[in-house]
């Protein structure tokens, strides 16, 4: 084993690997921070550059882009309320309110610290538990995924604040919006109305930008300009105390990310929402979530970055790509004549060790590059809104267009923006809408796949201990929510009387 480790180290310890990894993380952070440029797009565009590189260097370049991209999405989510990636959509819930209070640097700092810790834990988990987690992940069939996602939807109660029923209705609207496009079971159209641009469904990015960034811009022009109160934390980064106050949340979020990341097809966004939900439920500052709570940012970022290393588990251990990015990385392996899977651990173990070493280094790179970026990017929050918001709107237009090279997506973004603005004015929370829209496709696919397997019998959703585990958790959480909700209403009623 020592010999193999040494061989792995020699494969990894080349100047070009160090440069490629750093460059990858940098590209990822920049691309992730620009709404419309997605991480899969960046990884795909980087793929041709790996053809001439050695396998380890090429794969580390792609991994760097992937890891940087997941973190980078949080930057614009915090600064301009426009998540750069779907994974960062949960970060806006507390990140942007913090920026509005003048605490952008603090939010960016804690996002970076959480991302690095979660990334590190995810990498360690990949190295130590790849085999165990891969076999656990294989136990997740469609029924288990359905119960898991259904459980994740309980977060709606957490992000709806005092408007629980409106939040649930908002989530329903998000779930309905996610059904637009071609039905995957029968291949028939749903809500297309002859518009071919809708065949593939609505893309996440224009919907995310429209729902969060555009209403903020519209609202700025349609209300009295309020001068910011002097905030003692303005311009100050996150302190050690801040980090340790969020530490438990970060660790929990990281492990949620690791477990969900190991399950093919789940992705970073559900993990971020689940981590956020758990943090809100257990935190003593739970009531501040959604109003600019630092722990909320930490939970979301730990949740989505915890996925980064773990998505490599099914890829390396089983040869199964869990998402689009790992599918591209699988392609990179194959281009270099390698086939990930159990055999790789016996035939090319030194290459696996070399990749593990590079992955560990990527967390350090992420920290360094993130710190440098924050230093310059956090200045954006100092730009007056009358100048910043028009620029943001233009960036949103370019970003929405870039997703599919289609002006139709720009129209969708504005439509979502107007919807988001109307929801803002009617006090209908938009976060549940987003959760419904993001989790909707996974929920429906797993629901129908399960029923296809069981030939229409609902018994499949109660057939395994994993399903029961999530049902029990769901019932407990819903029960607790309604109990807390009715108690708070009762208290409010008595106070008014």
């Amino acid at each position: 084993m020592i010999d193999q480790l040494l061989d792995g180290f020699l494969l990894f310890a080349t100047l070009e690997s160090f440069i490629a990894l750093g460059l990858g993380v940098f590209i990822g952070v920049i691309v992730g921070a620009i709404p419309g440029l997605t991480t899969p797009m960046a990884v795909a565009l980087t793929l041709p550059f790996t053809f001439t590189l050695s396998p380890v260097t090429g794969i580390l370049l792609l991994l760097g882009v992937y890891k940087g991209g997941i973190y980078g999405g949080s930057i614009t989510a915090i600064l301009i309320n426009a998540p750069g990636t779907p994974a960062a959509s949960c970060t806006v819930l507390d990140g942007y309110p913090m920026a509005k209070k003048g605490e952008a640097k603090r939010a960016l700092d804690i996002a970076l610290y959480s991302s690095c810790v979660a990334d590190f834990i995810s990498n360690i988990s990949l190295i130590l538990f790849a085999g165990i987690l891969a076999s656990f992940a294989l136990k997740f069939g469609p029924a288990e995924v359905f119960t898991l996602i259904f459980f994740s939807l309980t977060i709606i109660s957490g992000v709806s604040g005092t408007q629980l029923l409106k939040g649930m209705a908002s989530a329903c609207l998000g779930l309905l919006l996610a059904t637009i496009g071609m039905d995957l079971v029968y291949g028939t159209n749903r809500f297309i109305f002859g518009q071919t641009d809708l065949l593939a469904g609505l893309n996440f990015i224009p919907v995310l930008i429209g729902l969060f960034a555009v209403p903020e811009i519209l609202n700025f022009f349609c209300k009295e300009q309020i001068k910011l109160e002097k905030n003692p934390l303005a311009g100050i980064g996150a302190s050690i105390k801040d980090f340790f106050s969020c530490f438990k949340t970060i660790i929990r979020g990281s492990f949620i990310g690791v477990i969900l990341g190991a399950i093919p097809g789940i992705g970073a966004a559900p993990s971020a929402f689940l981590s956020y939900s758990e943090a809100k439920r257990t935190s003593k500052n739970g009531d501040n979530f959604g109003k600019g709570e630092i722990e909320g940012v930490a939970a979301a970022e730990a949740g989505n970055n915890g996925v980064a290393g773990a998505t490599m588990i099914p890829l390396l251990a089983l040869g199964i790509p869990g998402d689009v990015i790992t599918a591209i990385i699988l392609g990179a392996f194959m281009i270099h004549g390698l086939r990930p899977g159990p055999l790789m651990f016996t035939q090319n173990i030194e290459l696996i060790y070399a990749i593990f070493m590079g992955i560990m280094l990527s967390s350090i790179y992420l920290f360094g590059i993130g710190k440098i970026c924050i230093k310059f990017i956090s200045k954006i929050s100092d730009i007056p809104h009358r100048i910043l918001f028009p620029i943001v709107l233009i960036l949103c237009i370019f970003g929405s267009y870039a997703v599919n090279n289609s002006t139709f997506d720009i129209a969708i973004m504005f439509l979502m923006g107007i919807l988001g603005f109307a929801m803002l004015k009617l006090s209908i929370p938009t976060a549940p809408f987003l959760i419904g829209f993001i989790l909707g496709p996974i929920l429906e696919d797993s629901f129908r796949q399960s029923l296809l397997i069981s030939r229409g019998s609902y018994a499949i959703f109660f057939s395994t201990p994993i399903c029961w585990f999530f049902w029990i958790l769901t019932v407990v959480i819903i029960g607790m929510t309604f109990w807390t909700y009715s108690k708070s209403k009762q208290a409010a009623f008595l106070t008014t009387k």
């Binding site: 029923l165 209705a169 159209n189 749903r190 022009f221 349609c222 028009p390 233009i394 237009i397 370019f398």
Partner: protein, 162 residues
């Protein structure tokens, strides 16, 4: 801005949810979802899941209505103050302009015009700032997307120039 209590506003949301739910069930789903003939189990039908959610939406709407009539605790905000209504209409007109002018004018021209217009609307009066930001910001974003990210941006009027 906090304002006088407007109990009808929650009712308004509830009515929207109920109306939209029924609209989906009775109109949008039947005409918007093509049902194949060979459906073995009704739960696998493409319309089953959207229909289920639509019913839930209606139920939630009814729930909000009942809550309003039984408790009456809600404090809401005025949607848009009259003095800002004109601004809202102007911005909506700008959005329509952007959507419809994009294919002919191109993203760069529309961007310059939109930034200039919005900065003026937002209260910026320094000519140098207005001109430099409205030209340089779209130019920088345009160069990034076209030269670095290699995304072909529709140039419209400037097709020959760029």
């Amino acid at each position: 801005m906090k304002s006088k209590r407007l109990p009808k506003q929650d009712t308004f949301s509830a009515v929207i949810f109920i109306f939209f739910g029924f609209f989906l069930i009775t109109f949008l789903i039947p005409i918007g979802i093509i049902e194949p003939d060979n459906i073995e189990f009704s739960v696998l039908s493409p319309s089953y899941y959207p229909r289920l959610i639509s019913y839930i939406l209606v139920l939630i709407g009814v729930g909000i209505l009942i809550k309003n009539f039984t408790t009456g605790f809600f404090e809401n905000t005025i949607l848009i103050e009259n003095k800002y209504l004109v601004r809202m209409i102007i911005i909506l007109a700008l959005i329509l302009f952007i959507i419809f002018a994009l294919p002919t004018l191109g993203i760069p021209v529309v961007s310059v015009f939109s930034i200039l217009f919005l900065m003026l609307l937002g209260g910026e009066r320094r000519v140098i700032i207005i001109l430099s930001v409205s030209i340089l910001a779209p130019l920088f974003i345009y160069l990034f997307f076209t030269k670095i990210a290699q995304i072909p941006i529709p140039n419209g009027l400037l097709e020959r120039l760029l």
